[in-house]
Structure formats: C-alpha cells, structure tokens
C-alpha cells in the first residue's frame, strides 16, 4: 500500500464536480431521501418541544397550581417522546436503507468496470489498492451520505430552531446568554484543529506499527537467523512509544477540552441565573422561561460540536469519491464484453465506452449473440502475421512472429524460458494487443471479433490452473448456462478426473476453497482440462504447466492431453516437450523470434536448436524445463 492510501486527500471538503456525480447515484432514491429529510426536520422539531413543554408545565401548571393543565402537558410530553422515538427510528431506517442501496449500486458499477478494464491495467495496479476502492472507499461515501443529511437537516435545523425559540421567549436574555458563544466557538475550533493533527499522528503511528508488525512477523525467520531480536525490539518499542505519546497528547487535549466545554456551559448557566434572575425580579419574565433557557442552552452545544466533526467526514469522503471516479474514468478494454445488470440508474459515461470504442466499422460491433458469427464448424484457422510485441517498454518480447494454424492442425510452440511462448497465448486471447502486425482468426483480425463469440470458440488452459471458491461443478461450467451438468461430468470423465472427483466429499458438489488450496497441482491441471473440454472448443490453446506432479497423476495428465488434442485445432505451448509426439508441427521460438519450424522428425534431422532442446529434456534439468539465457523472464510467463 502506497503512502497515498493514508492520504486524507487535498483537504477540500467540497468539490462541486464530484458532488454532482455523486448525486446522480442518489437520483433513483430521491423520493425516499425527500421523505427522510421531512422526518429529520420533524424529529428536530420534537427536540425543540421538550424545553418549551417544561416551561409551560412550570408557568401554567405548577405556578398556577393547576393539576389539570399539568396532566395535559404531561400527556403531550409523553406523546412527543413517542413521536420522537418513532421519527428517530424511521429516519435511521430510511437513510441507512438508501445508503446501503447506494453502496450496492456503486459497488456493482465498480466491479463491472473492473471486469472490463484491459488486462494490462492490472499489471500496474496492486490488487490491494483496487480492493480498497470497491470496499472502504465506498463505505466512506455511505458515511458521508447518512451523516451529511443528518448534519444539514438535523443539527442545523435544531440550532436555528433553538435560536428562534429562545428569541420568542426573551430576546434580551438570548443576547446575554449567547455572549458565551464566541468563547465556545473559539474553544471548539482550536481544539478540533489541534486534535485533528494529533489524530493524524496517531493514525500514522498506527500505520507504522502495523507495517512493522506485518514485515517482521512475515520475515521472522530472517530476524531470528540474523539475531536481530533485541534491535528489532528496540525499534518496535520506539514506534510503540510514539503511538503511546501521540495518544497521551490527544488525551491531554481531551482532558482540557471537555472540562473547558463544561466551564463554558456553566458560564451560560451563571449568566442566566444572574441576568435572568434580575429579569424575573424586575421585568417579570417567568421562572419557566428561565428553566427553558437553561435547557435550550444545554441542547445547543452538542449539535455544534457534531457539525465540526462531520466536516472531517466530508473531507475524507471527497478524497474517496475522487479515487473512485478516477477508477471509473479509466477507459475500458476495447474487447470488453457488455455487462448488463449493474443497478445504476444513470451509469455515468464509462460503461458506454464499450460500444463506442470497439474498432472497425459495421460488422465489428456485433452484439453478443450466443452463437457468434455464423461460421461453419470445421475448426479454426489462426494466422500470426508479422507480430511484434513488447510489454510497456521498448524491449521486444516477440519480434516479427509469423505462422499459421490450418483448421484441424495441431501445432506446438517450444523454446527456452523467456523466449516469448506464453506471450503468444496472451495475444491470442486479446489480453494484450500487438504493437505491430496482426493476428487473424478465420481471416478476420482479432480486433474485429466480438469478445464473447471469439471466446466461445477458444478453449484455454493456462499454466496456472486457477480454481475459484465455490463448488467443483461451478469451476467447470464457470457459470456458462449452455454447459449442462451432464456435459461437465462427461468432460471430467474424458480427462480422467472423475475418479479423483468421486473421492471428494460431495463429488461434483464438493466445495472448492480459495484458489483450490486443497487440490494438488496435478489435480488442478486435470480440472482445468475438463473446464476447457466442457466447452468443446474449436480451437484449443494450451499452456502446459511446468510444475512437477507425482508419477500417477503424470500418467493421467498425459492420457488426458491426448484426448484433449484429438480432432481439433490446437496450439500447445510445450514447456516439457511431453506433448510433441502428438502434434503435427512444431514451431521453435527463441529470443522472441521463430527459429525453426517443422515436424519432430524434420527438426531432429536438421540438428538445430530443437534437437538440443530435446536432448536437454531427456537429461532432465531442474524442473524438466530447459532453463537458459534470458532469465529475466517475460512478465506473462
């Protein structure tokens, strides 16, 4: 997490542009918001009634010794309490409900946007930061919304109401009493300013403490091996002491501030006793007025300090909003699939990019139809036509790569680590776009294909067979409604995975933990095969796994591979050369260039790079993978 994550923004509490965009999310709920505002106003009104009722009770009931009136006022007071209770309840319910709905909408929008951003975007963004956008930043906005309405319509209205009520009672006494107000405001503002800074220190200390713990608990074996314990303890103790001292400083301010507040309110009380008492004696204001005054002043101070606290929330929320919209403003991938269903009434700008950015004219912007463009199912023809590609920088990972897969042909790509093999699949899957040259599927450039239609025809098995948490069957279908349960089961059978699945508690309904942690690498690979096969793809792209598996699983995997390659166009990235006997043609890649091409026999006879790779394979390197030269590796591998 970068330092920016702790940043509390520019400190600006209000930004008009952001506020307008936020309001767009509120629009579907404007009726409820209006209702909540009315209720908040009502609740504030009830609050104002209590001191008034107390005054009436004293002046009309007690002083006139009229129990009838006293009873009536008592009943009114009771009903005010009940109404206050009801309104308070309703207000929270409505506001929180709207707030929660709003967050759900915003989250859905953010998540869909993440699904549509280009893969290259994620190379630069730490996952943790993106998660913060979807979770805590949205949370902060909710606080802004609920606290904001409360502040604007609750606190402010109460403050105004109190002044109005007091001026109705006695303007002169109001002026005298409120002469303490400047003192109060100065005390509060000075305190808030100081304490805000101290709390920032406290948070910084806490973040340092967390970072230190995270690092030193994670690297404990290094710490212990290097005998750093005592020095690390001193360092930890130092941070811990900073944390304690910042808190002690905050405590000192609190210890001064709260008594000072009480003192100011005592000053108001003293003024009311002294000046109000004189008025009772000589100008004839009632005792009830005096008591009401005391109560109103007491009620005045709380919303005042609440307001200054909510100002802080506003500042934070604006910083969060800025970060959220920055993400939403990142243009989405040209190949992104359209994602309906985000319950956003007014999805601002970005999701429409999906259509407007798709390159090529008319035929290109095909809407996602379940069958894709009408092409006869005879297999796919894939052409790499003078493809050049570099990740970000200037260093070419692929240089002028050209080869063709004829329909039904099986081609293996071999080459040492870092030769650019895996990058080929990333380009074919449109995770990245080549800088020069073109990749064509069935004669049509990749960019002109509808993403859905293309992916329906290609089955991909990645080196790292990623499993999602959920059921095992869900991992095979991946939510594709066109893949029936039977088909998923048949696919599992064909790749020899059904025996393994049968052993699991629950079989196909077995629960898969995060990232398939309970499965071995070999088992995960079999499941990835089944996942691809269940789609019965016309083109199979397989990035062979490099991880070593036990002999039994290895036998299963080889047999499954043979089944998988049967009767379809295949592009196999062969890391272990174990598949080379099953393919029609072999392309040898080295340093991003195509160096040799031909059948196994031809290439062996030629005695070049390929022959040496095969030799190496039989000698068995570290991982069975020829590790050579450019160890820097490609980021896609």
């Amino acid at each position: 997490m970068s330092a920016g994550e702790f940043d509390e923004g520019t400190g600006r509490a209000y930004n008009h542009r952001l506020a307008v965009r936020l309001l767009a999310y509120l629009r579907p709920y404007r009726g409820q918001v209006a209702l909540a505002v009315v209720i908040t106003l009502g609740g504030a009104g009830v609050q104002l009634a209590y001191p008034w009722l107390t005054k009436e009770a004293i002046d009309l009931g007690i002083r006139h010794r009229d129990t009838y009136i006293l009873d009536r006022i008592g009943l009114t007071y009771l009903s005010a309490l009940l109404i206050g209770f009801g309104l308070g309840y309703l207000q929270t319910q409505i506001m929180q409900r709207v707030g929660q709905n709003l967050m759900r909408d915003l989250r859905a929008h953010l998540f869909r946007h993440l699904q549509q951003l280009p893969v290259s975007y994620f190379d630069r963004q730490p996952v943790g930061r993106l998660m913060t956008r979807v979770t805590s930043d949205v949370e902060v906005l909710n606080e802004l919304f609920t606290a904001g309405v409360d502040a604007l319509f609750g606190d402010l209205f109460i403050l105004i109401g109190i002044v109005v009520a007091m001026s109705q009672l006695n303007v002169e006494l109001l002026v005298v009493t409120f002469s303490v107000l400047p003192v109060m405001v100065i005390v509060t503002l000075t305190f808030r300013a100081k304490v805000r800074r101290i709390f920032r220190d406290v948070r910084t200390c806490m973040a340092r403490l967390n970072a230190f713990l995270n690092e030193n608990l994670g690297g404990m074996s290094t710490v212990q091996l290097l005998g750093r314990e005592s020095r690390n303890f001193a360092q930890f103790s130092g941070i811990n002491a900073d944390h304690r001292d910042a808190n002690l400083r905050a405590n000192r301010y609190h210890a001064v501030f709260f008594p000072l507040l009480e003192l100011v309110s005592a000053m108001a009380l003293a003024l009311i006793v002294w000046y109000g008492g004189r008025q009772v004696m000589w100008t004839g204001i009632t005792l009830g007025t005096l008591v009401a005054f005391i109560q109103y002043t007491q009620r005045f101070f709380r919303p005042l300090s609440d307001l200054s606290e909510k100002y802080g929330i506003l500042q934070q929320a604006m910083a969060s909003a800025e970060r959220i919209f920055e993400l939403l403003d990142t243009p989405i991938d040209t190949a992104a699939v359209a994602l309906p269903g985000a319950r956003v009434a007014d999805a601002p700008a970005s999701s429409t990019h999906a259509v407007s950015h798709v390159p090529g004219a008319a035929g290109a912007t095909v809407t996602a139809s379940p069958n894709g463009p009408a092409t006869p199912r005879v297999g796919v023809r894939v052409e790499f036509d003078h493809v050049w590609f570099a990740y970000g920088g200037e260093q070419w990972v692929l240089e002028d790569v050209s080869f063709t897969l004829e329909p039904g042909e099986r081609v293996a790509i071999v080459g040492p680590t870092g030769s650019g093999k895996t990058t080929l699949t990333s380009l074919l899957m449109r995770f990245y776009t080549p800088q020069r040259g073109e990749i064509r599927v069935d004669g049509r450039p990749l960019g002109q294909w509808d993403a859905d239609a293309l992916r329906r025809r290609i089955g991909l098995v990645l080196q790292d067979s990623f499993l999602f948490s959920g059921t095992l069957e869900g991992n095979l279908t991946l939510g594709d409604p066109t893949i029936s349960s039977e088909r998923a089961r048949a696919a599992a059978r064909e790749v020899n995975a059904s025996e393994m699945i049968a052993r699991l508690p629950g079989g196909f309904a077995a629960e898969v933990r995060e990232r398939g942690a309970t499965f071995s690498a070999g088992e995960r690979q079999l499941l990835a095969f089944a996942r691809a096969l269940a789609r019965d793809p016309e083109l199979l792209v397989l990035d062979e796994a490099t991880s070593s598996v036990d002999t039994h699983t290895e036998v299963l995997i080889r047999a499954a591979l043979r089944r998988l390659l049967e009767g379809r166009t295949c592009l196999v990235i062969a890391h272990r050369l174990s598949t080379i006997h099953d393919v029609d043609r072999i392309v040898v890649l080295h340093h991003g260039r195509v160096r040799e091409m031909g059948t196994h026999a031809q290439l062996m006879a030629a005695g070049g790079l390929y022959q040496r790779l095969v030799q190496l394979q039989y000698l068995g390197g570290e991982n069975g993978e020829p590790a050579a030269a450019g160890r820097a590796g490609d980021p896609g591998a």
């Binding site: 209590y50 009770a57 004293i58 129990t67 006293l70 009873d71 008592g74 009771l78 308070g88 319910q93 929180q96 409900r97 929660q100 759900r104 989250r107 993440l114 699904q115 998660m131 979807v134 979770t135 403490l209 967390n210 713990l213 995270n214 290094t222 212990q224 005998g227 314990e229 930890f236 811990n240 002690l248 405590n251 210890a255 008594p259 003192l263 005592a266 009380l269 003293a270 008492g277 004696m281 269903g341 899957m429 995770f431 290609i458 991909l460 990623f466 999602f468 948490s469 995060e514 990232r515 789609r535 070593s548 070049g608 790079l609 040496r612 190496l616 068995g620 991982n623 020829p626 050579a628």
Partner: protein
Amino acid sequence: MIPVHFTRLLRAAARYKAGLWWGIACVAASNVVMLSQPQVLRHAIDDLYGGVTAEKLGRYALLVMGIAVLAGLFRFGMRHWVIGISRRLEFDLRNELFAHLQRLPVEWFQGRRTGELMSIATNDMAAVRMMLGPGVMYTVNTVTVMVLSVSFMLAISPRLTLLSLLPLPLVSISVWWFGDRIHRRFERVQERMGQLSAQVQENLAGLRVVRAFGAERRESERFDELSEGYRMGHLELIRISGVFQPSLAFWSGVGALLAIWVGGREVVANRITLGQFVAFTVYLGMLNWPMVALGWVINIFQRGSASYLRIVGLIEQSPSIDSPEAAVRPTGAARGELEFRNVTFAYPGSAEPLLHDVTFHVPAGATVALVGRTGSGKSTVLSLLPRVFDPPPGTVFVDRHDVRTLDLAWLRAQVASVPQDPFLFSATVAANVAYGVDGEDTAAVARAAALARLDREIESFPDGYATFVGERGITLSGGQKQRTAIARAVLRDAPILLLDDCLSNVDTQTEEAILEGLRGEMRRRTTLLVSHRVSTVREADLILVLDHGRIVERGRHAELLALGGHYAALHRAQQIEEEIAAS
C-alpha cells in the same frame, strides 16, 4: 474470584498504583463538586420566589462558575491519570507481546496467518486498553454519581425519587442488551465484508481465466449476491441499532417527564419547593449518562476480557526452539567444523521424513556443495544447522557440540545464511546490507556490496545507498535482492556460511563475477552451498547429490563426472543450455 490470567494484568498495573489511586480520587471528587451545583440552583430559585437582591444573584452566579472550575480541575486529573495509565499499560503489554513473538520458532508462524497475529497486537490490544481506561473510569464515575445523586434526590423527596428512578435501570439494561446484539450483528456484517473483499481479490487474481472463459457475467452476479448479502446484513444490524439510539433518548425522556409530572404535583401539593423541584430534575438529568455508561461498560469489560485472554494465549505459548537449560556457550567464535550424523528428519506435523539418513562431515574451512532436484531436501539440510527447524537430538554438530545443547543466540551468531528467496525490509539499501550486524559502517557496507557485485547498481540508484527498497524490497529485481542478501551475509562475517541457491536469479556472467569475489570469503569460512548449477559447485571440496532426501552420490567434481550418474547428466544438460543460449 479473579481468573488466574488477570493476576498477570494486576501485576502489570501495580507499577502505576499511585497514579491510579489519584485518578480514582479525582473521579470521585469531581462528582462531589459537580453535584453540589443543583443545590445552588435550588437556593437561587427559591430565593427568586421569595425575594432576592441583585448582589445575592451575583453571588449565586459566581458560585456556579467556581464549582465548574473546581470540577474541571478534577476532571482533568481524572483523564490525565486514568486514561494516561491505560495508554502506558497498553504500551507495556504490546511490548511484552512482541518480545515474546520474537522468541517463537518459524514452524509456529507457519501455522498462523500474519493478519491474525496483527489483529491481536492491535485490535485486541485496543479492547484491553478500553477496559483499563474508559472502562475503569466510567465504572467509578457511575458508582459515585449514582450514590451521590440518589442521596440528594432522596433528601428532596423519597417518593419522587422512587417513581422517577423506575425507568432508569431499563436504560442500563437496554444498553447492555442491545450493545451485545449490535456487536454480534456488526461482526457478521464485517465477516460478509470480508467475503466480499475475498471475492474481489480472487476475481482479480484469476483475471485471465475470467476473461478467457467469458466468466465476467457470472463473476458480476456472484459479486452482486455477496454485495446483497452484505447489504442485508447491514439492514439487519440497523433494525436493532435503529431502535437502540431512539430508545435511549426515550427512556431518559420518560425519566424527565416523570420528574416534571409527578414532581409538579408534589410542588402543587406543597410537599416540595419549586427550587427543590428544579434541582431534582437536574439530578435526574445527571443520572442519564452514568446509566448509559453502565451498560456500555459491561460490554467493554466483556470484550476486553475476551481480548485479554487471546493476548495471554500468545504470551504463554512456550517457544519450542530455545536455548536449553545449562546451554553450552563456547568463548569466542566457532572454528566451523560441521557434522551431520544419520539425520532422518520430518517436518513437524508430517509423518513422512524428508531426509533419510543424511551423513557428512565438513572440516573447518571446507566447502561442501549440495545439488539435486527441487524437493530433494537440500534447503532442509541447511535449515537444521541454525535450528530454524530442530534436528533430532545428537544428529547435527558444530565444533563437535550437538546444536541442541548450544546457546541459541551464540549458535546463530556463528552462521551467515543467504536464502533462495531473501527477505528484505522496507529500509534503505545500506540498512538492509547491514541488517545482520550492529551499526551501519558505510565503508564496510560498500565493501560487502562490491563483493556481491551490487555496488555499481546501487550507485546508479537515485539516492545511492540511502535509497529505500520498499516493502519486502519490491523496487529491486530478484537478482538485486539476492545480491543484497549475499552482501548482508558477507558483512556478517560469521565462521559458517550457508548459501541456498542464492544466485538463481542472476545471469551466468554475474554469477561468475560474484563467485570469484565469494571464493576468497569461502576459503576463510566453512561453507554449505546449494545450487542447481554445476558451474557454481565444481570447485567445492565435496559435492553431495541428493535425491528424495537421500545422498545418492558424493565426491569431487571430476570423480562425479567419471561416475556418469545424476551429476554427470546435470553437467551435460547445462552444457547444452549454454549452447542454446549462445545460439
């Protein structure tokens, strides 16, 4: 009475005994002073009714102010002592916890998530602090305010007191009842937020699979489901907490109403004066907060003691790898003679041994290399020497002492090791190089960096040796990290050097250069060297080939080549690799 674990806490608090008593005295004193204020009000109002001079009114006003000033001083003392001490206790306890964690072995950490431990060191610690600070403060406060207020109120009118106090216990009870439920629902909401975050994380980690299989829609639906679950959880929480806040206001309102209503009737019936009536309502108002605090304090104590038990659970975990009693602590540095004698070793919790009957002897100053496939047990052999994992007793020896009988700090001080995946700390390059030694001698750091062939790159960094490497050294390449770790080990200048495949991320040329520099170092020390490259190990005094935890070949480079086994095949493979790289 007091659970045995809490005696530890009482002992820790004993240091601050005097301050605690002062703080508690301040709480009581501030309340005594504060509660005399309604009496002033009562006399003022009764005088207003009966006739009063302006001078007398002024005196009442001054009295109100005086009381506030005095009470304020006591309140300052209260926070200063009670809350201040809770912060100091938190500091002590957290230090104790961290010091203890540092003594626990690696295997203990492997079974736990860092996040969990951090949560104990921060969240649980905060809960304990709340118990010791505000918890104690408000308990004392509540008790004194209640005792004083109620006696003043009883003095005014017992009947009225009884009636108006009726709803107050309900306040405490509802705070306690709601507080507990709200907390539980809140935790459920947090849990759902955790699930939601986990899905986002999983989705981003499996991004390519999602895209390749067009699973974006299904992922979005799954997200919506969890998002909706979170929303529902929140609404459940609000259904309770939404009742709680208004009900607090309601109950205290009912108290005030009773005072006015019933109190008013008492005034009408001439049983109390108007001044007493007003004073009574003020006392009643003063009881509100302590009643709220009572319920709240109960929750604080419940949570705090649960948290405290978790903390103590960690502190009482005894370190399984530690110096034995009567540990041997040789004077001076080790000579560096090593021996592994029939070592059969299984990782804790695993039945299957990873090493079988491994035996070899290393004379002081010799270099022994270990080669073999991934998972053959090479790194495990290295980890037994400094007792990262404990070998069986009587199997691993340094200078003919069983490592398990040696003083642990001394043993580890004799070893400088470079792991395959080195751990760097978010500090400067120089601090990372000097991590294993006291102080940060600039010249020595530069020498070590030069030996690891890292000096030129460091000098090209924006701030040279003062450049920060980021969390876990994220700004450095894999090769740079490995070389930093080599420099770190060189600088440590220990008699035993352990190199665990520490050059896997540098290219062959750099490797040659580093090895050339290291050879001088290796001649002065006993070295155990793990590598998968023949070029690295060919000059070793003894080469051991491991396969499935057993030594299958042993000898010098030439002997093993002549043997024509595993080692020879590895050698041939690397020759071809070089040819491929060159082509």
